[in-house]
Symmetry: C2
């Protein structure tokens, strides 16, 4: 990598001071004259037929402006009442049937929130309860109730076109991979390890719940302010639903108070947009925390994992993964597919068979969650790796190093891995925890143990990011990007990349927040994809600006543009720094005028070689990988079984770290989030009702739950196509936490737990 001035430096966050002073704009802060507020009546049943909805009393209540039902939406001319990123299976408001507890049935828009909420009590709904299916394995049985009789595929993504829903079954998508001859491996095996690991549904719990504000502007265009991770997608979804041209819809996204996957794809936007169109008033809907739990969850997973060992070597692995996607597919099918092919782990295993199923149940829908399904898989395969190592009497670190793929080796899909620092991650995690040091002692009667886990996630591919870079004559820069700043530090990273490429100070760069009128298309802000994709787009767009500047300077200084270097706002001849121009001088030479701008735009587009539908094999299934390892040290209370994590050592291969401090913070953030997922977070459901859907009952990791030691370690294997060699880091820290802790628990107390969370 070239010598850099800004990239690779741990500059402070661009948005730090505004955030700590509470000044930043969130959708919840936007006040508009005449704005209406929304309350939604939701289904009390996991599955029922709607017999009758009586709106009239609510409609006549003072302050109520609109009362909307699913059949109202279905009757709107030109409106498609269904949406969804993989399948169009989700009604904007329930039509005929409700499919989960919390399914939206009636929406009221009123002058204030209290009026809207009160009006809900004036809307009697008669239901006929229907048999519900609430267990993911039961749901696969032919005799189970079928959640969706008919579903239509979504059309927005060519790479989702193969996600065709199955017939009248709750299995709405099935991914399979066949490598080698698994049956033969099992028939020839000395030993077969067969385990079932489960992960419960949980929730993202972003500090800011979902919130959307919509209005029709003076040019009859639909404006939407939304807390979304996917402004471009939301625009497309609204255009599809409403039958509007894309450029009649403007989606803007200010700062998000966290996303974690909860805010990808459309959520509240279709409903709020329709209310704005009907009422011709600005309309805002903010979810309560209870509604947040009913709106989107993390997939509960049952993973049946079977591994063949012959002569002490792993020879085959069979993965059957059952994903509970709830009442609507949401992005479940893509999760099942994209994470599916990593189910057998990043290991050299000659024979692999994977079947990964996306399954409807009458529960709240499940979607993307930091790690996009991979943490649930690693939980299983890394737990079993320890089981096997222990059974074979091999040190767990040594055991993993034996099988871990090396640069250029084929993944299970056949794709050769590239920029693949997995072995370095395992090594660094072992070093960090002092793996080879003497066994931990028992403290005050509490047994202690160490565990390690490794794993890998692939980045969402194909995917696309576009950026525009506008430099002004004083060297200050605006970057137009649809990447959403949701706490991950993308504004800072993009500003560093633009500053580096243009040779200006980091503080000279302003990031224009997502606004689909002006910021180019971006697939989503999720899946640790932005630093690579948007970073590349920003870098390439900035390079175009630099090229124009250099041309002006080169002609003035009578040198070749190739001999020029930009740094600290100056452009000089390499090797003779006294021959130089400032950026304003260069602009004046080019344009004869200050105040002028130079614009560059670029798109980063990655692609796959499509998988063979029968075998799941592809020479290129992803653009790049995120190897990761976690080492954990725990102490277990023998009386209560309570696990206290003493140390977490989180190692990620981020490629070149654009901002090392922020990369480390991301590793720590991911580790803490999954510490909660490992030790206590789960959605408790009974008869389809969430029993702990408030923050009084649902616990996330607090400062008191933090390990005594939490240490991030960056492994920086640069990716040759990444911006300055960067890959990404958003999810890496969380991938391998659960198995590392469970492995440490077994090390401490000899008990193998196969169900998350590891509650006492």
């Amino acid at each position: 990598m070239r010598d850099t001035a800004v990239v690779g430096k741990s500059v402070n966050r661009a948005d730090a001071s505004q955030k700590v002073t509470g000044q930043v704009l969130h959708v919840g802060n936007i006040e508009m004259p005449g704005m209406l507020h929304v309350a939604v009546l939701r289904s009390p049943h996991p599955h029922a037929r709607i017999i009758r909805i009586e709106k009239s009393r609510a409609e006549s209540r003072e302050g109520v402006v609109a009362v909307l039902t699913g059949s109202d939406v279905a009757a709107m001319p030109g409106v498609d009442p269904y949406f969804g990123p993989a399948f169009r299976d989700q009604p904007i408001l329930a039509i005929d049937r409700v499919l989960h507890v919390g399914d939206p049935v009636v929406a009221v828009a009123a002058e204030n929130l209290r009026s809207a909420q009160d009006a809900l009590e004036l809307v009697p709904v008669d239901y006929e309860p229907l048999p519900a299916v609430l267990d993911v394995l039961e749901a696969t049985r032919p005799e189970s109730p079928v959640v969706h009789e008919e579903i239509r595929p979504a059309l927005s993504f060519a790479d989702l076109a193969h996600l065709r829903p199955a017939g009248k079954s709750n299995v709405c998508y099935h991914y399979k991979l066949r490598k080698g001859d698994v049956e033969k491996a099992f028939s020839e095996a000395d030993r077969i390890f067969e385990d079932t690991f489960t992960s419960p549904p949980s929730q993202h719990v972003p500090m800011e719940p979902h919130v959307t504000l919509a209005f029709v502007d003076e040019n009859e265009r639909l404006n939407v302010w939304s807390a979304t991770q996917s402004p471009s997608f939301v625009r497309t979804e609204l255009a599809n639903i409403l039958g509007l041209p894309l450029n009649r819809i403007r989606v803007r996204v200010p700062y998000l108070g966290g996303g974690y996957g909860a805010k990808v794809y459309a959520k509240l936007e279709p409903l709020v947009a329709i209310l704005a169109l009907i009422t011709r008033r600005p309309v805002r809907y903010s979810l309560s925390r209870e509604e947040e739990f009913q709106t989107i969850t993390k997939h509960g997973v049952v993973f049946k994992l079977k591994t063949a060992v012959k002569d002490g070597l792993i020879t085959g692995r069979e993965c059957r993964v059952y994903w509970d996607t709830g009442a609507y597919a949401e992005i479940g099918p893509r999760i099942v597919h994209k994470s599916g092919y990593t189910s057998a782990g990043p290991y050299r295993i000659p024979n692999v068979s994977i079947d990964s199923y996306c399954i409807y149940t009458n529960k709240p829908p499940a979607g993307a969650f930091r790690g996009f399904g991979v943490p649930q898989l690693i939980w299983a395969y890394e737990s079993q790796m320890d089981i096997i190592a222990r059974a074979l009497g091999v040190d767990p670190v040594e055991f993993r190093m034996r099988y871990a793929l090396d640069e250029g080796e084929p993944f299970a899909t056949g794709t050769p891995v590239q920029a693949f620092g997995l072995r370095a991650c395992i090594r660094e995690a072992a070093n960090a925890i002092g793996w080879s040091e003497p066994k931990p002692k028992t403290t005050a009667g509490k047994p202690r143990g160490k565990g390690i886990a490794a794993g890998v996630k692939a980045v969402l591919t194909p995917s696309i990011s576009g950026a525009i870079v506008i430099m002004s004559a004083d060297g200050s820069v605006n970057v137009l990007s649809s990447t959403v700043e949701m706490g991950q530090g993308s504004e800072t990273a993009m500003a560093q990349i633009a500053a580096e490429e243009l040779g200006v100070g980091f503080d000279k760069v302003h990031i224009v927040q997502p606004d689909t009128d002006v910021t180019p298309y971006d697939t989503i802000t999720a899946g640790s994809r932005s630093t690579y994709h948007m970073g590349n787009a920003v870098r390439m767009a900035a390079a175009k600006v630099r090229k124009e500047l250099f041309a002006a300077v080169a002609s003035k200084l009578e040198v070749s543009p190739d001999d020029l270097v930009a740094r600290d706002g100056r452009i000089f001849v390499r090797g003779s720094e006294e021959r130089r121009m400032t950026i304003p001088q260069a602009f004046l030479a080019k344009f004869g005028s200050l105040g002028t701008t130079i614009t560059g735009q670029a798109v980063c587009q990655t692609s796959t070689i499509p998988m063979d539908p029968d075998t799941g094999l592809s020479e290129k299934c992803t653009e790049y990988w995120f190897p990761s390892a976690t080492a954990a040290e725990v102490e277990v209370d023998p009386e209560t079984g309570k696990v206290h994590v003493l140390g977490l050592y989180s190692v990620g291969d981020t490629g070149t770290a654009i901002n090392p401090k922020h990369c480390e913070q991301q590793l720590v953030g991911g580790a803490i989030a999954h510490l909660g997922q490992t030790l206590f977070e789960f959605l408790s459901l009974e008869d389809g009702q969430i029993l702990n859907g408030t923050l009084l009952d649902y616990k996330i990791a607090s400062i008191l739950d933090l390990p005594d030691t939490i240490k991030p370690v960056l492994v920086q294997v640069p990716h040759e196509s990444g911006p300055f060699g960067a890959k990404g880091v958003g999810e890496t820290g969380g991938l391998t936490v659960s198995a590392a802790i469970a492995n440490a628990v077994e090390d401490a107390v000899g008990v193998r737990i196969k169900e998350l969370p590891l509650t006492p």
Copy 2:
């Protein structure tokens, strides 16, 4: 020109329905929570020293948030208290001295306008009156009071760098041109025609007066909404004044209720921005109509014109033009320069001498006005052309045709004229009015007469326009441009150009209004420059988008991109239309995803060959020309002398008309505006006080003043470098009106009037 689908068609305005329903957003409609309102105390003296300002009573008045004086501004660290586009001679609020009646002295920002206005009465200001200079010719005398002792040039434009203010004199800029030997021509002449023509100061009277709203946003960036014709310039000016990076300032411009040159360059923005920075509240200032008259005016001009004739031929011409720019230069020096070189007319005259002077007086500042000074010049030289023709016994049309420059001939500056339909304009005007038909009769005792006038304006060069075009996957398009829609129809023209280039329907294009965060630099929206400059930028940016689309289609259809044609949202193989793809299909082929975008950006930059400072000669002094002619028929009441215009025939060479109907409307609009300027509009000043500074006293042309017949005629001589051959039309209709009417009056009653307006 190629066969076009949208360009050259008279589609309806893109903004028609919103405007007629009163929905469109103007700065005056924007409401912000906590917004303050501004009132300004202005000088009652044309020239005085400020002895004392007592702010305390006003400051303590309820509702008053800030009371600001010029010395407060001067004391702000890092703030330059002066601004101005040519010279930085104008204080944001008066410092030490006031220089004209209406000069802003104290500004109050208060919770409501009434409080602000009332507070002004609580601010006593003591003045020491000083001798004032109120006449433009007197101001040139050495013994006259000097308005500015010291002035600094502005630095934003390299092409204004030569506009160096003179020493301690009221002549702040002097343009000269020397071609041939004028002295010899006069010494050898048979006859010398020497006349002085005057034009009074007047005002633009846009329906919407100046208005600016500023606030500091949550990211500590200065946001300005302003009714300005020059968002890019305003941003630069504010950055210079406030010492802020350009990208910390965001200037947005919604629809303007007219501009006519009044709203170019900075006006209220510096004051309102400073009040917003001080109060940390949104602040809006809207001028009253009275203040509008005190803020910016049209230059009053004295034009001493001397023409030598020998053997019946014009052999030489001497022009001495005195421009009264008032107390601040504003853009006066550029007007004096840019219009200056056209002072002798578009005629073949071998010897020319021009001296054009920009002169300070203690009157309200004068700036750009539709035509940028050229109407005042044409008024003079076309009046004299008739005087000479009459004296020589030559038909005025024939006389002009004899001298009118032909394609490729050198202008007075030496620049060969190009795409120069002047002769066609004269011919068409004569045809339209029936010039060769029998003399008009007297009606009911009122003599009638016909007159003609021709003239030419050059476009502002160098100048720069940048545009970004973003096409979405459904073929809808956003155009990002800093061109201001102020009624002239630029949104429609740009949409037609983008639609034509991309082969989509006109209604598919949305124009994103100026927003300096995202719309690239544009010099100004003025001077009939936008259709050419921004039109070219939009066309080139769209062509880049088309190129990417074509590449995708070509690869899919296995043809060369050169064989493809885009039309009606389809891309097909030339000559075999069945081989085609829709735009969404092309996007899907390229990106595998709908909702995606393709972005193109381009800049149109025109340049001159700088003039020789001693001779004013240049091989290229402008990018292109606007030839124009008007024929007028009048009836004069012999009792009152009242002139009634029976017919106006307005002919303009617009190049290819992007939208013929709108071009015709522009010709008509320009003609009506200058009908008012010709017949009755003038600012009546006494001791520097405007006596008619309200719409009760100052009359503009109303429906009752319209001629019985008003007919626009387009001469379309395409410019090879214009978008589809277009030039521009914003000012053309007004250039030649005054002289045509005066010439008709002489034809009717034999009286030659040399002073505008032609009041009874």
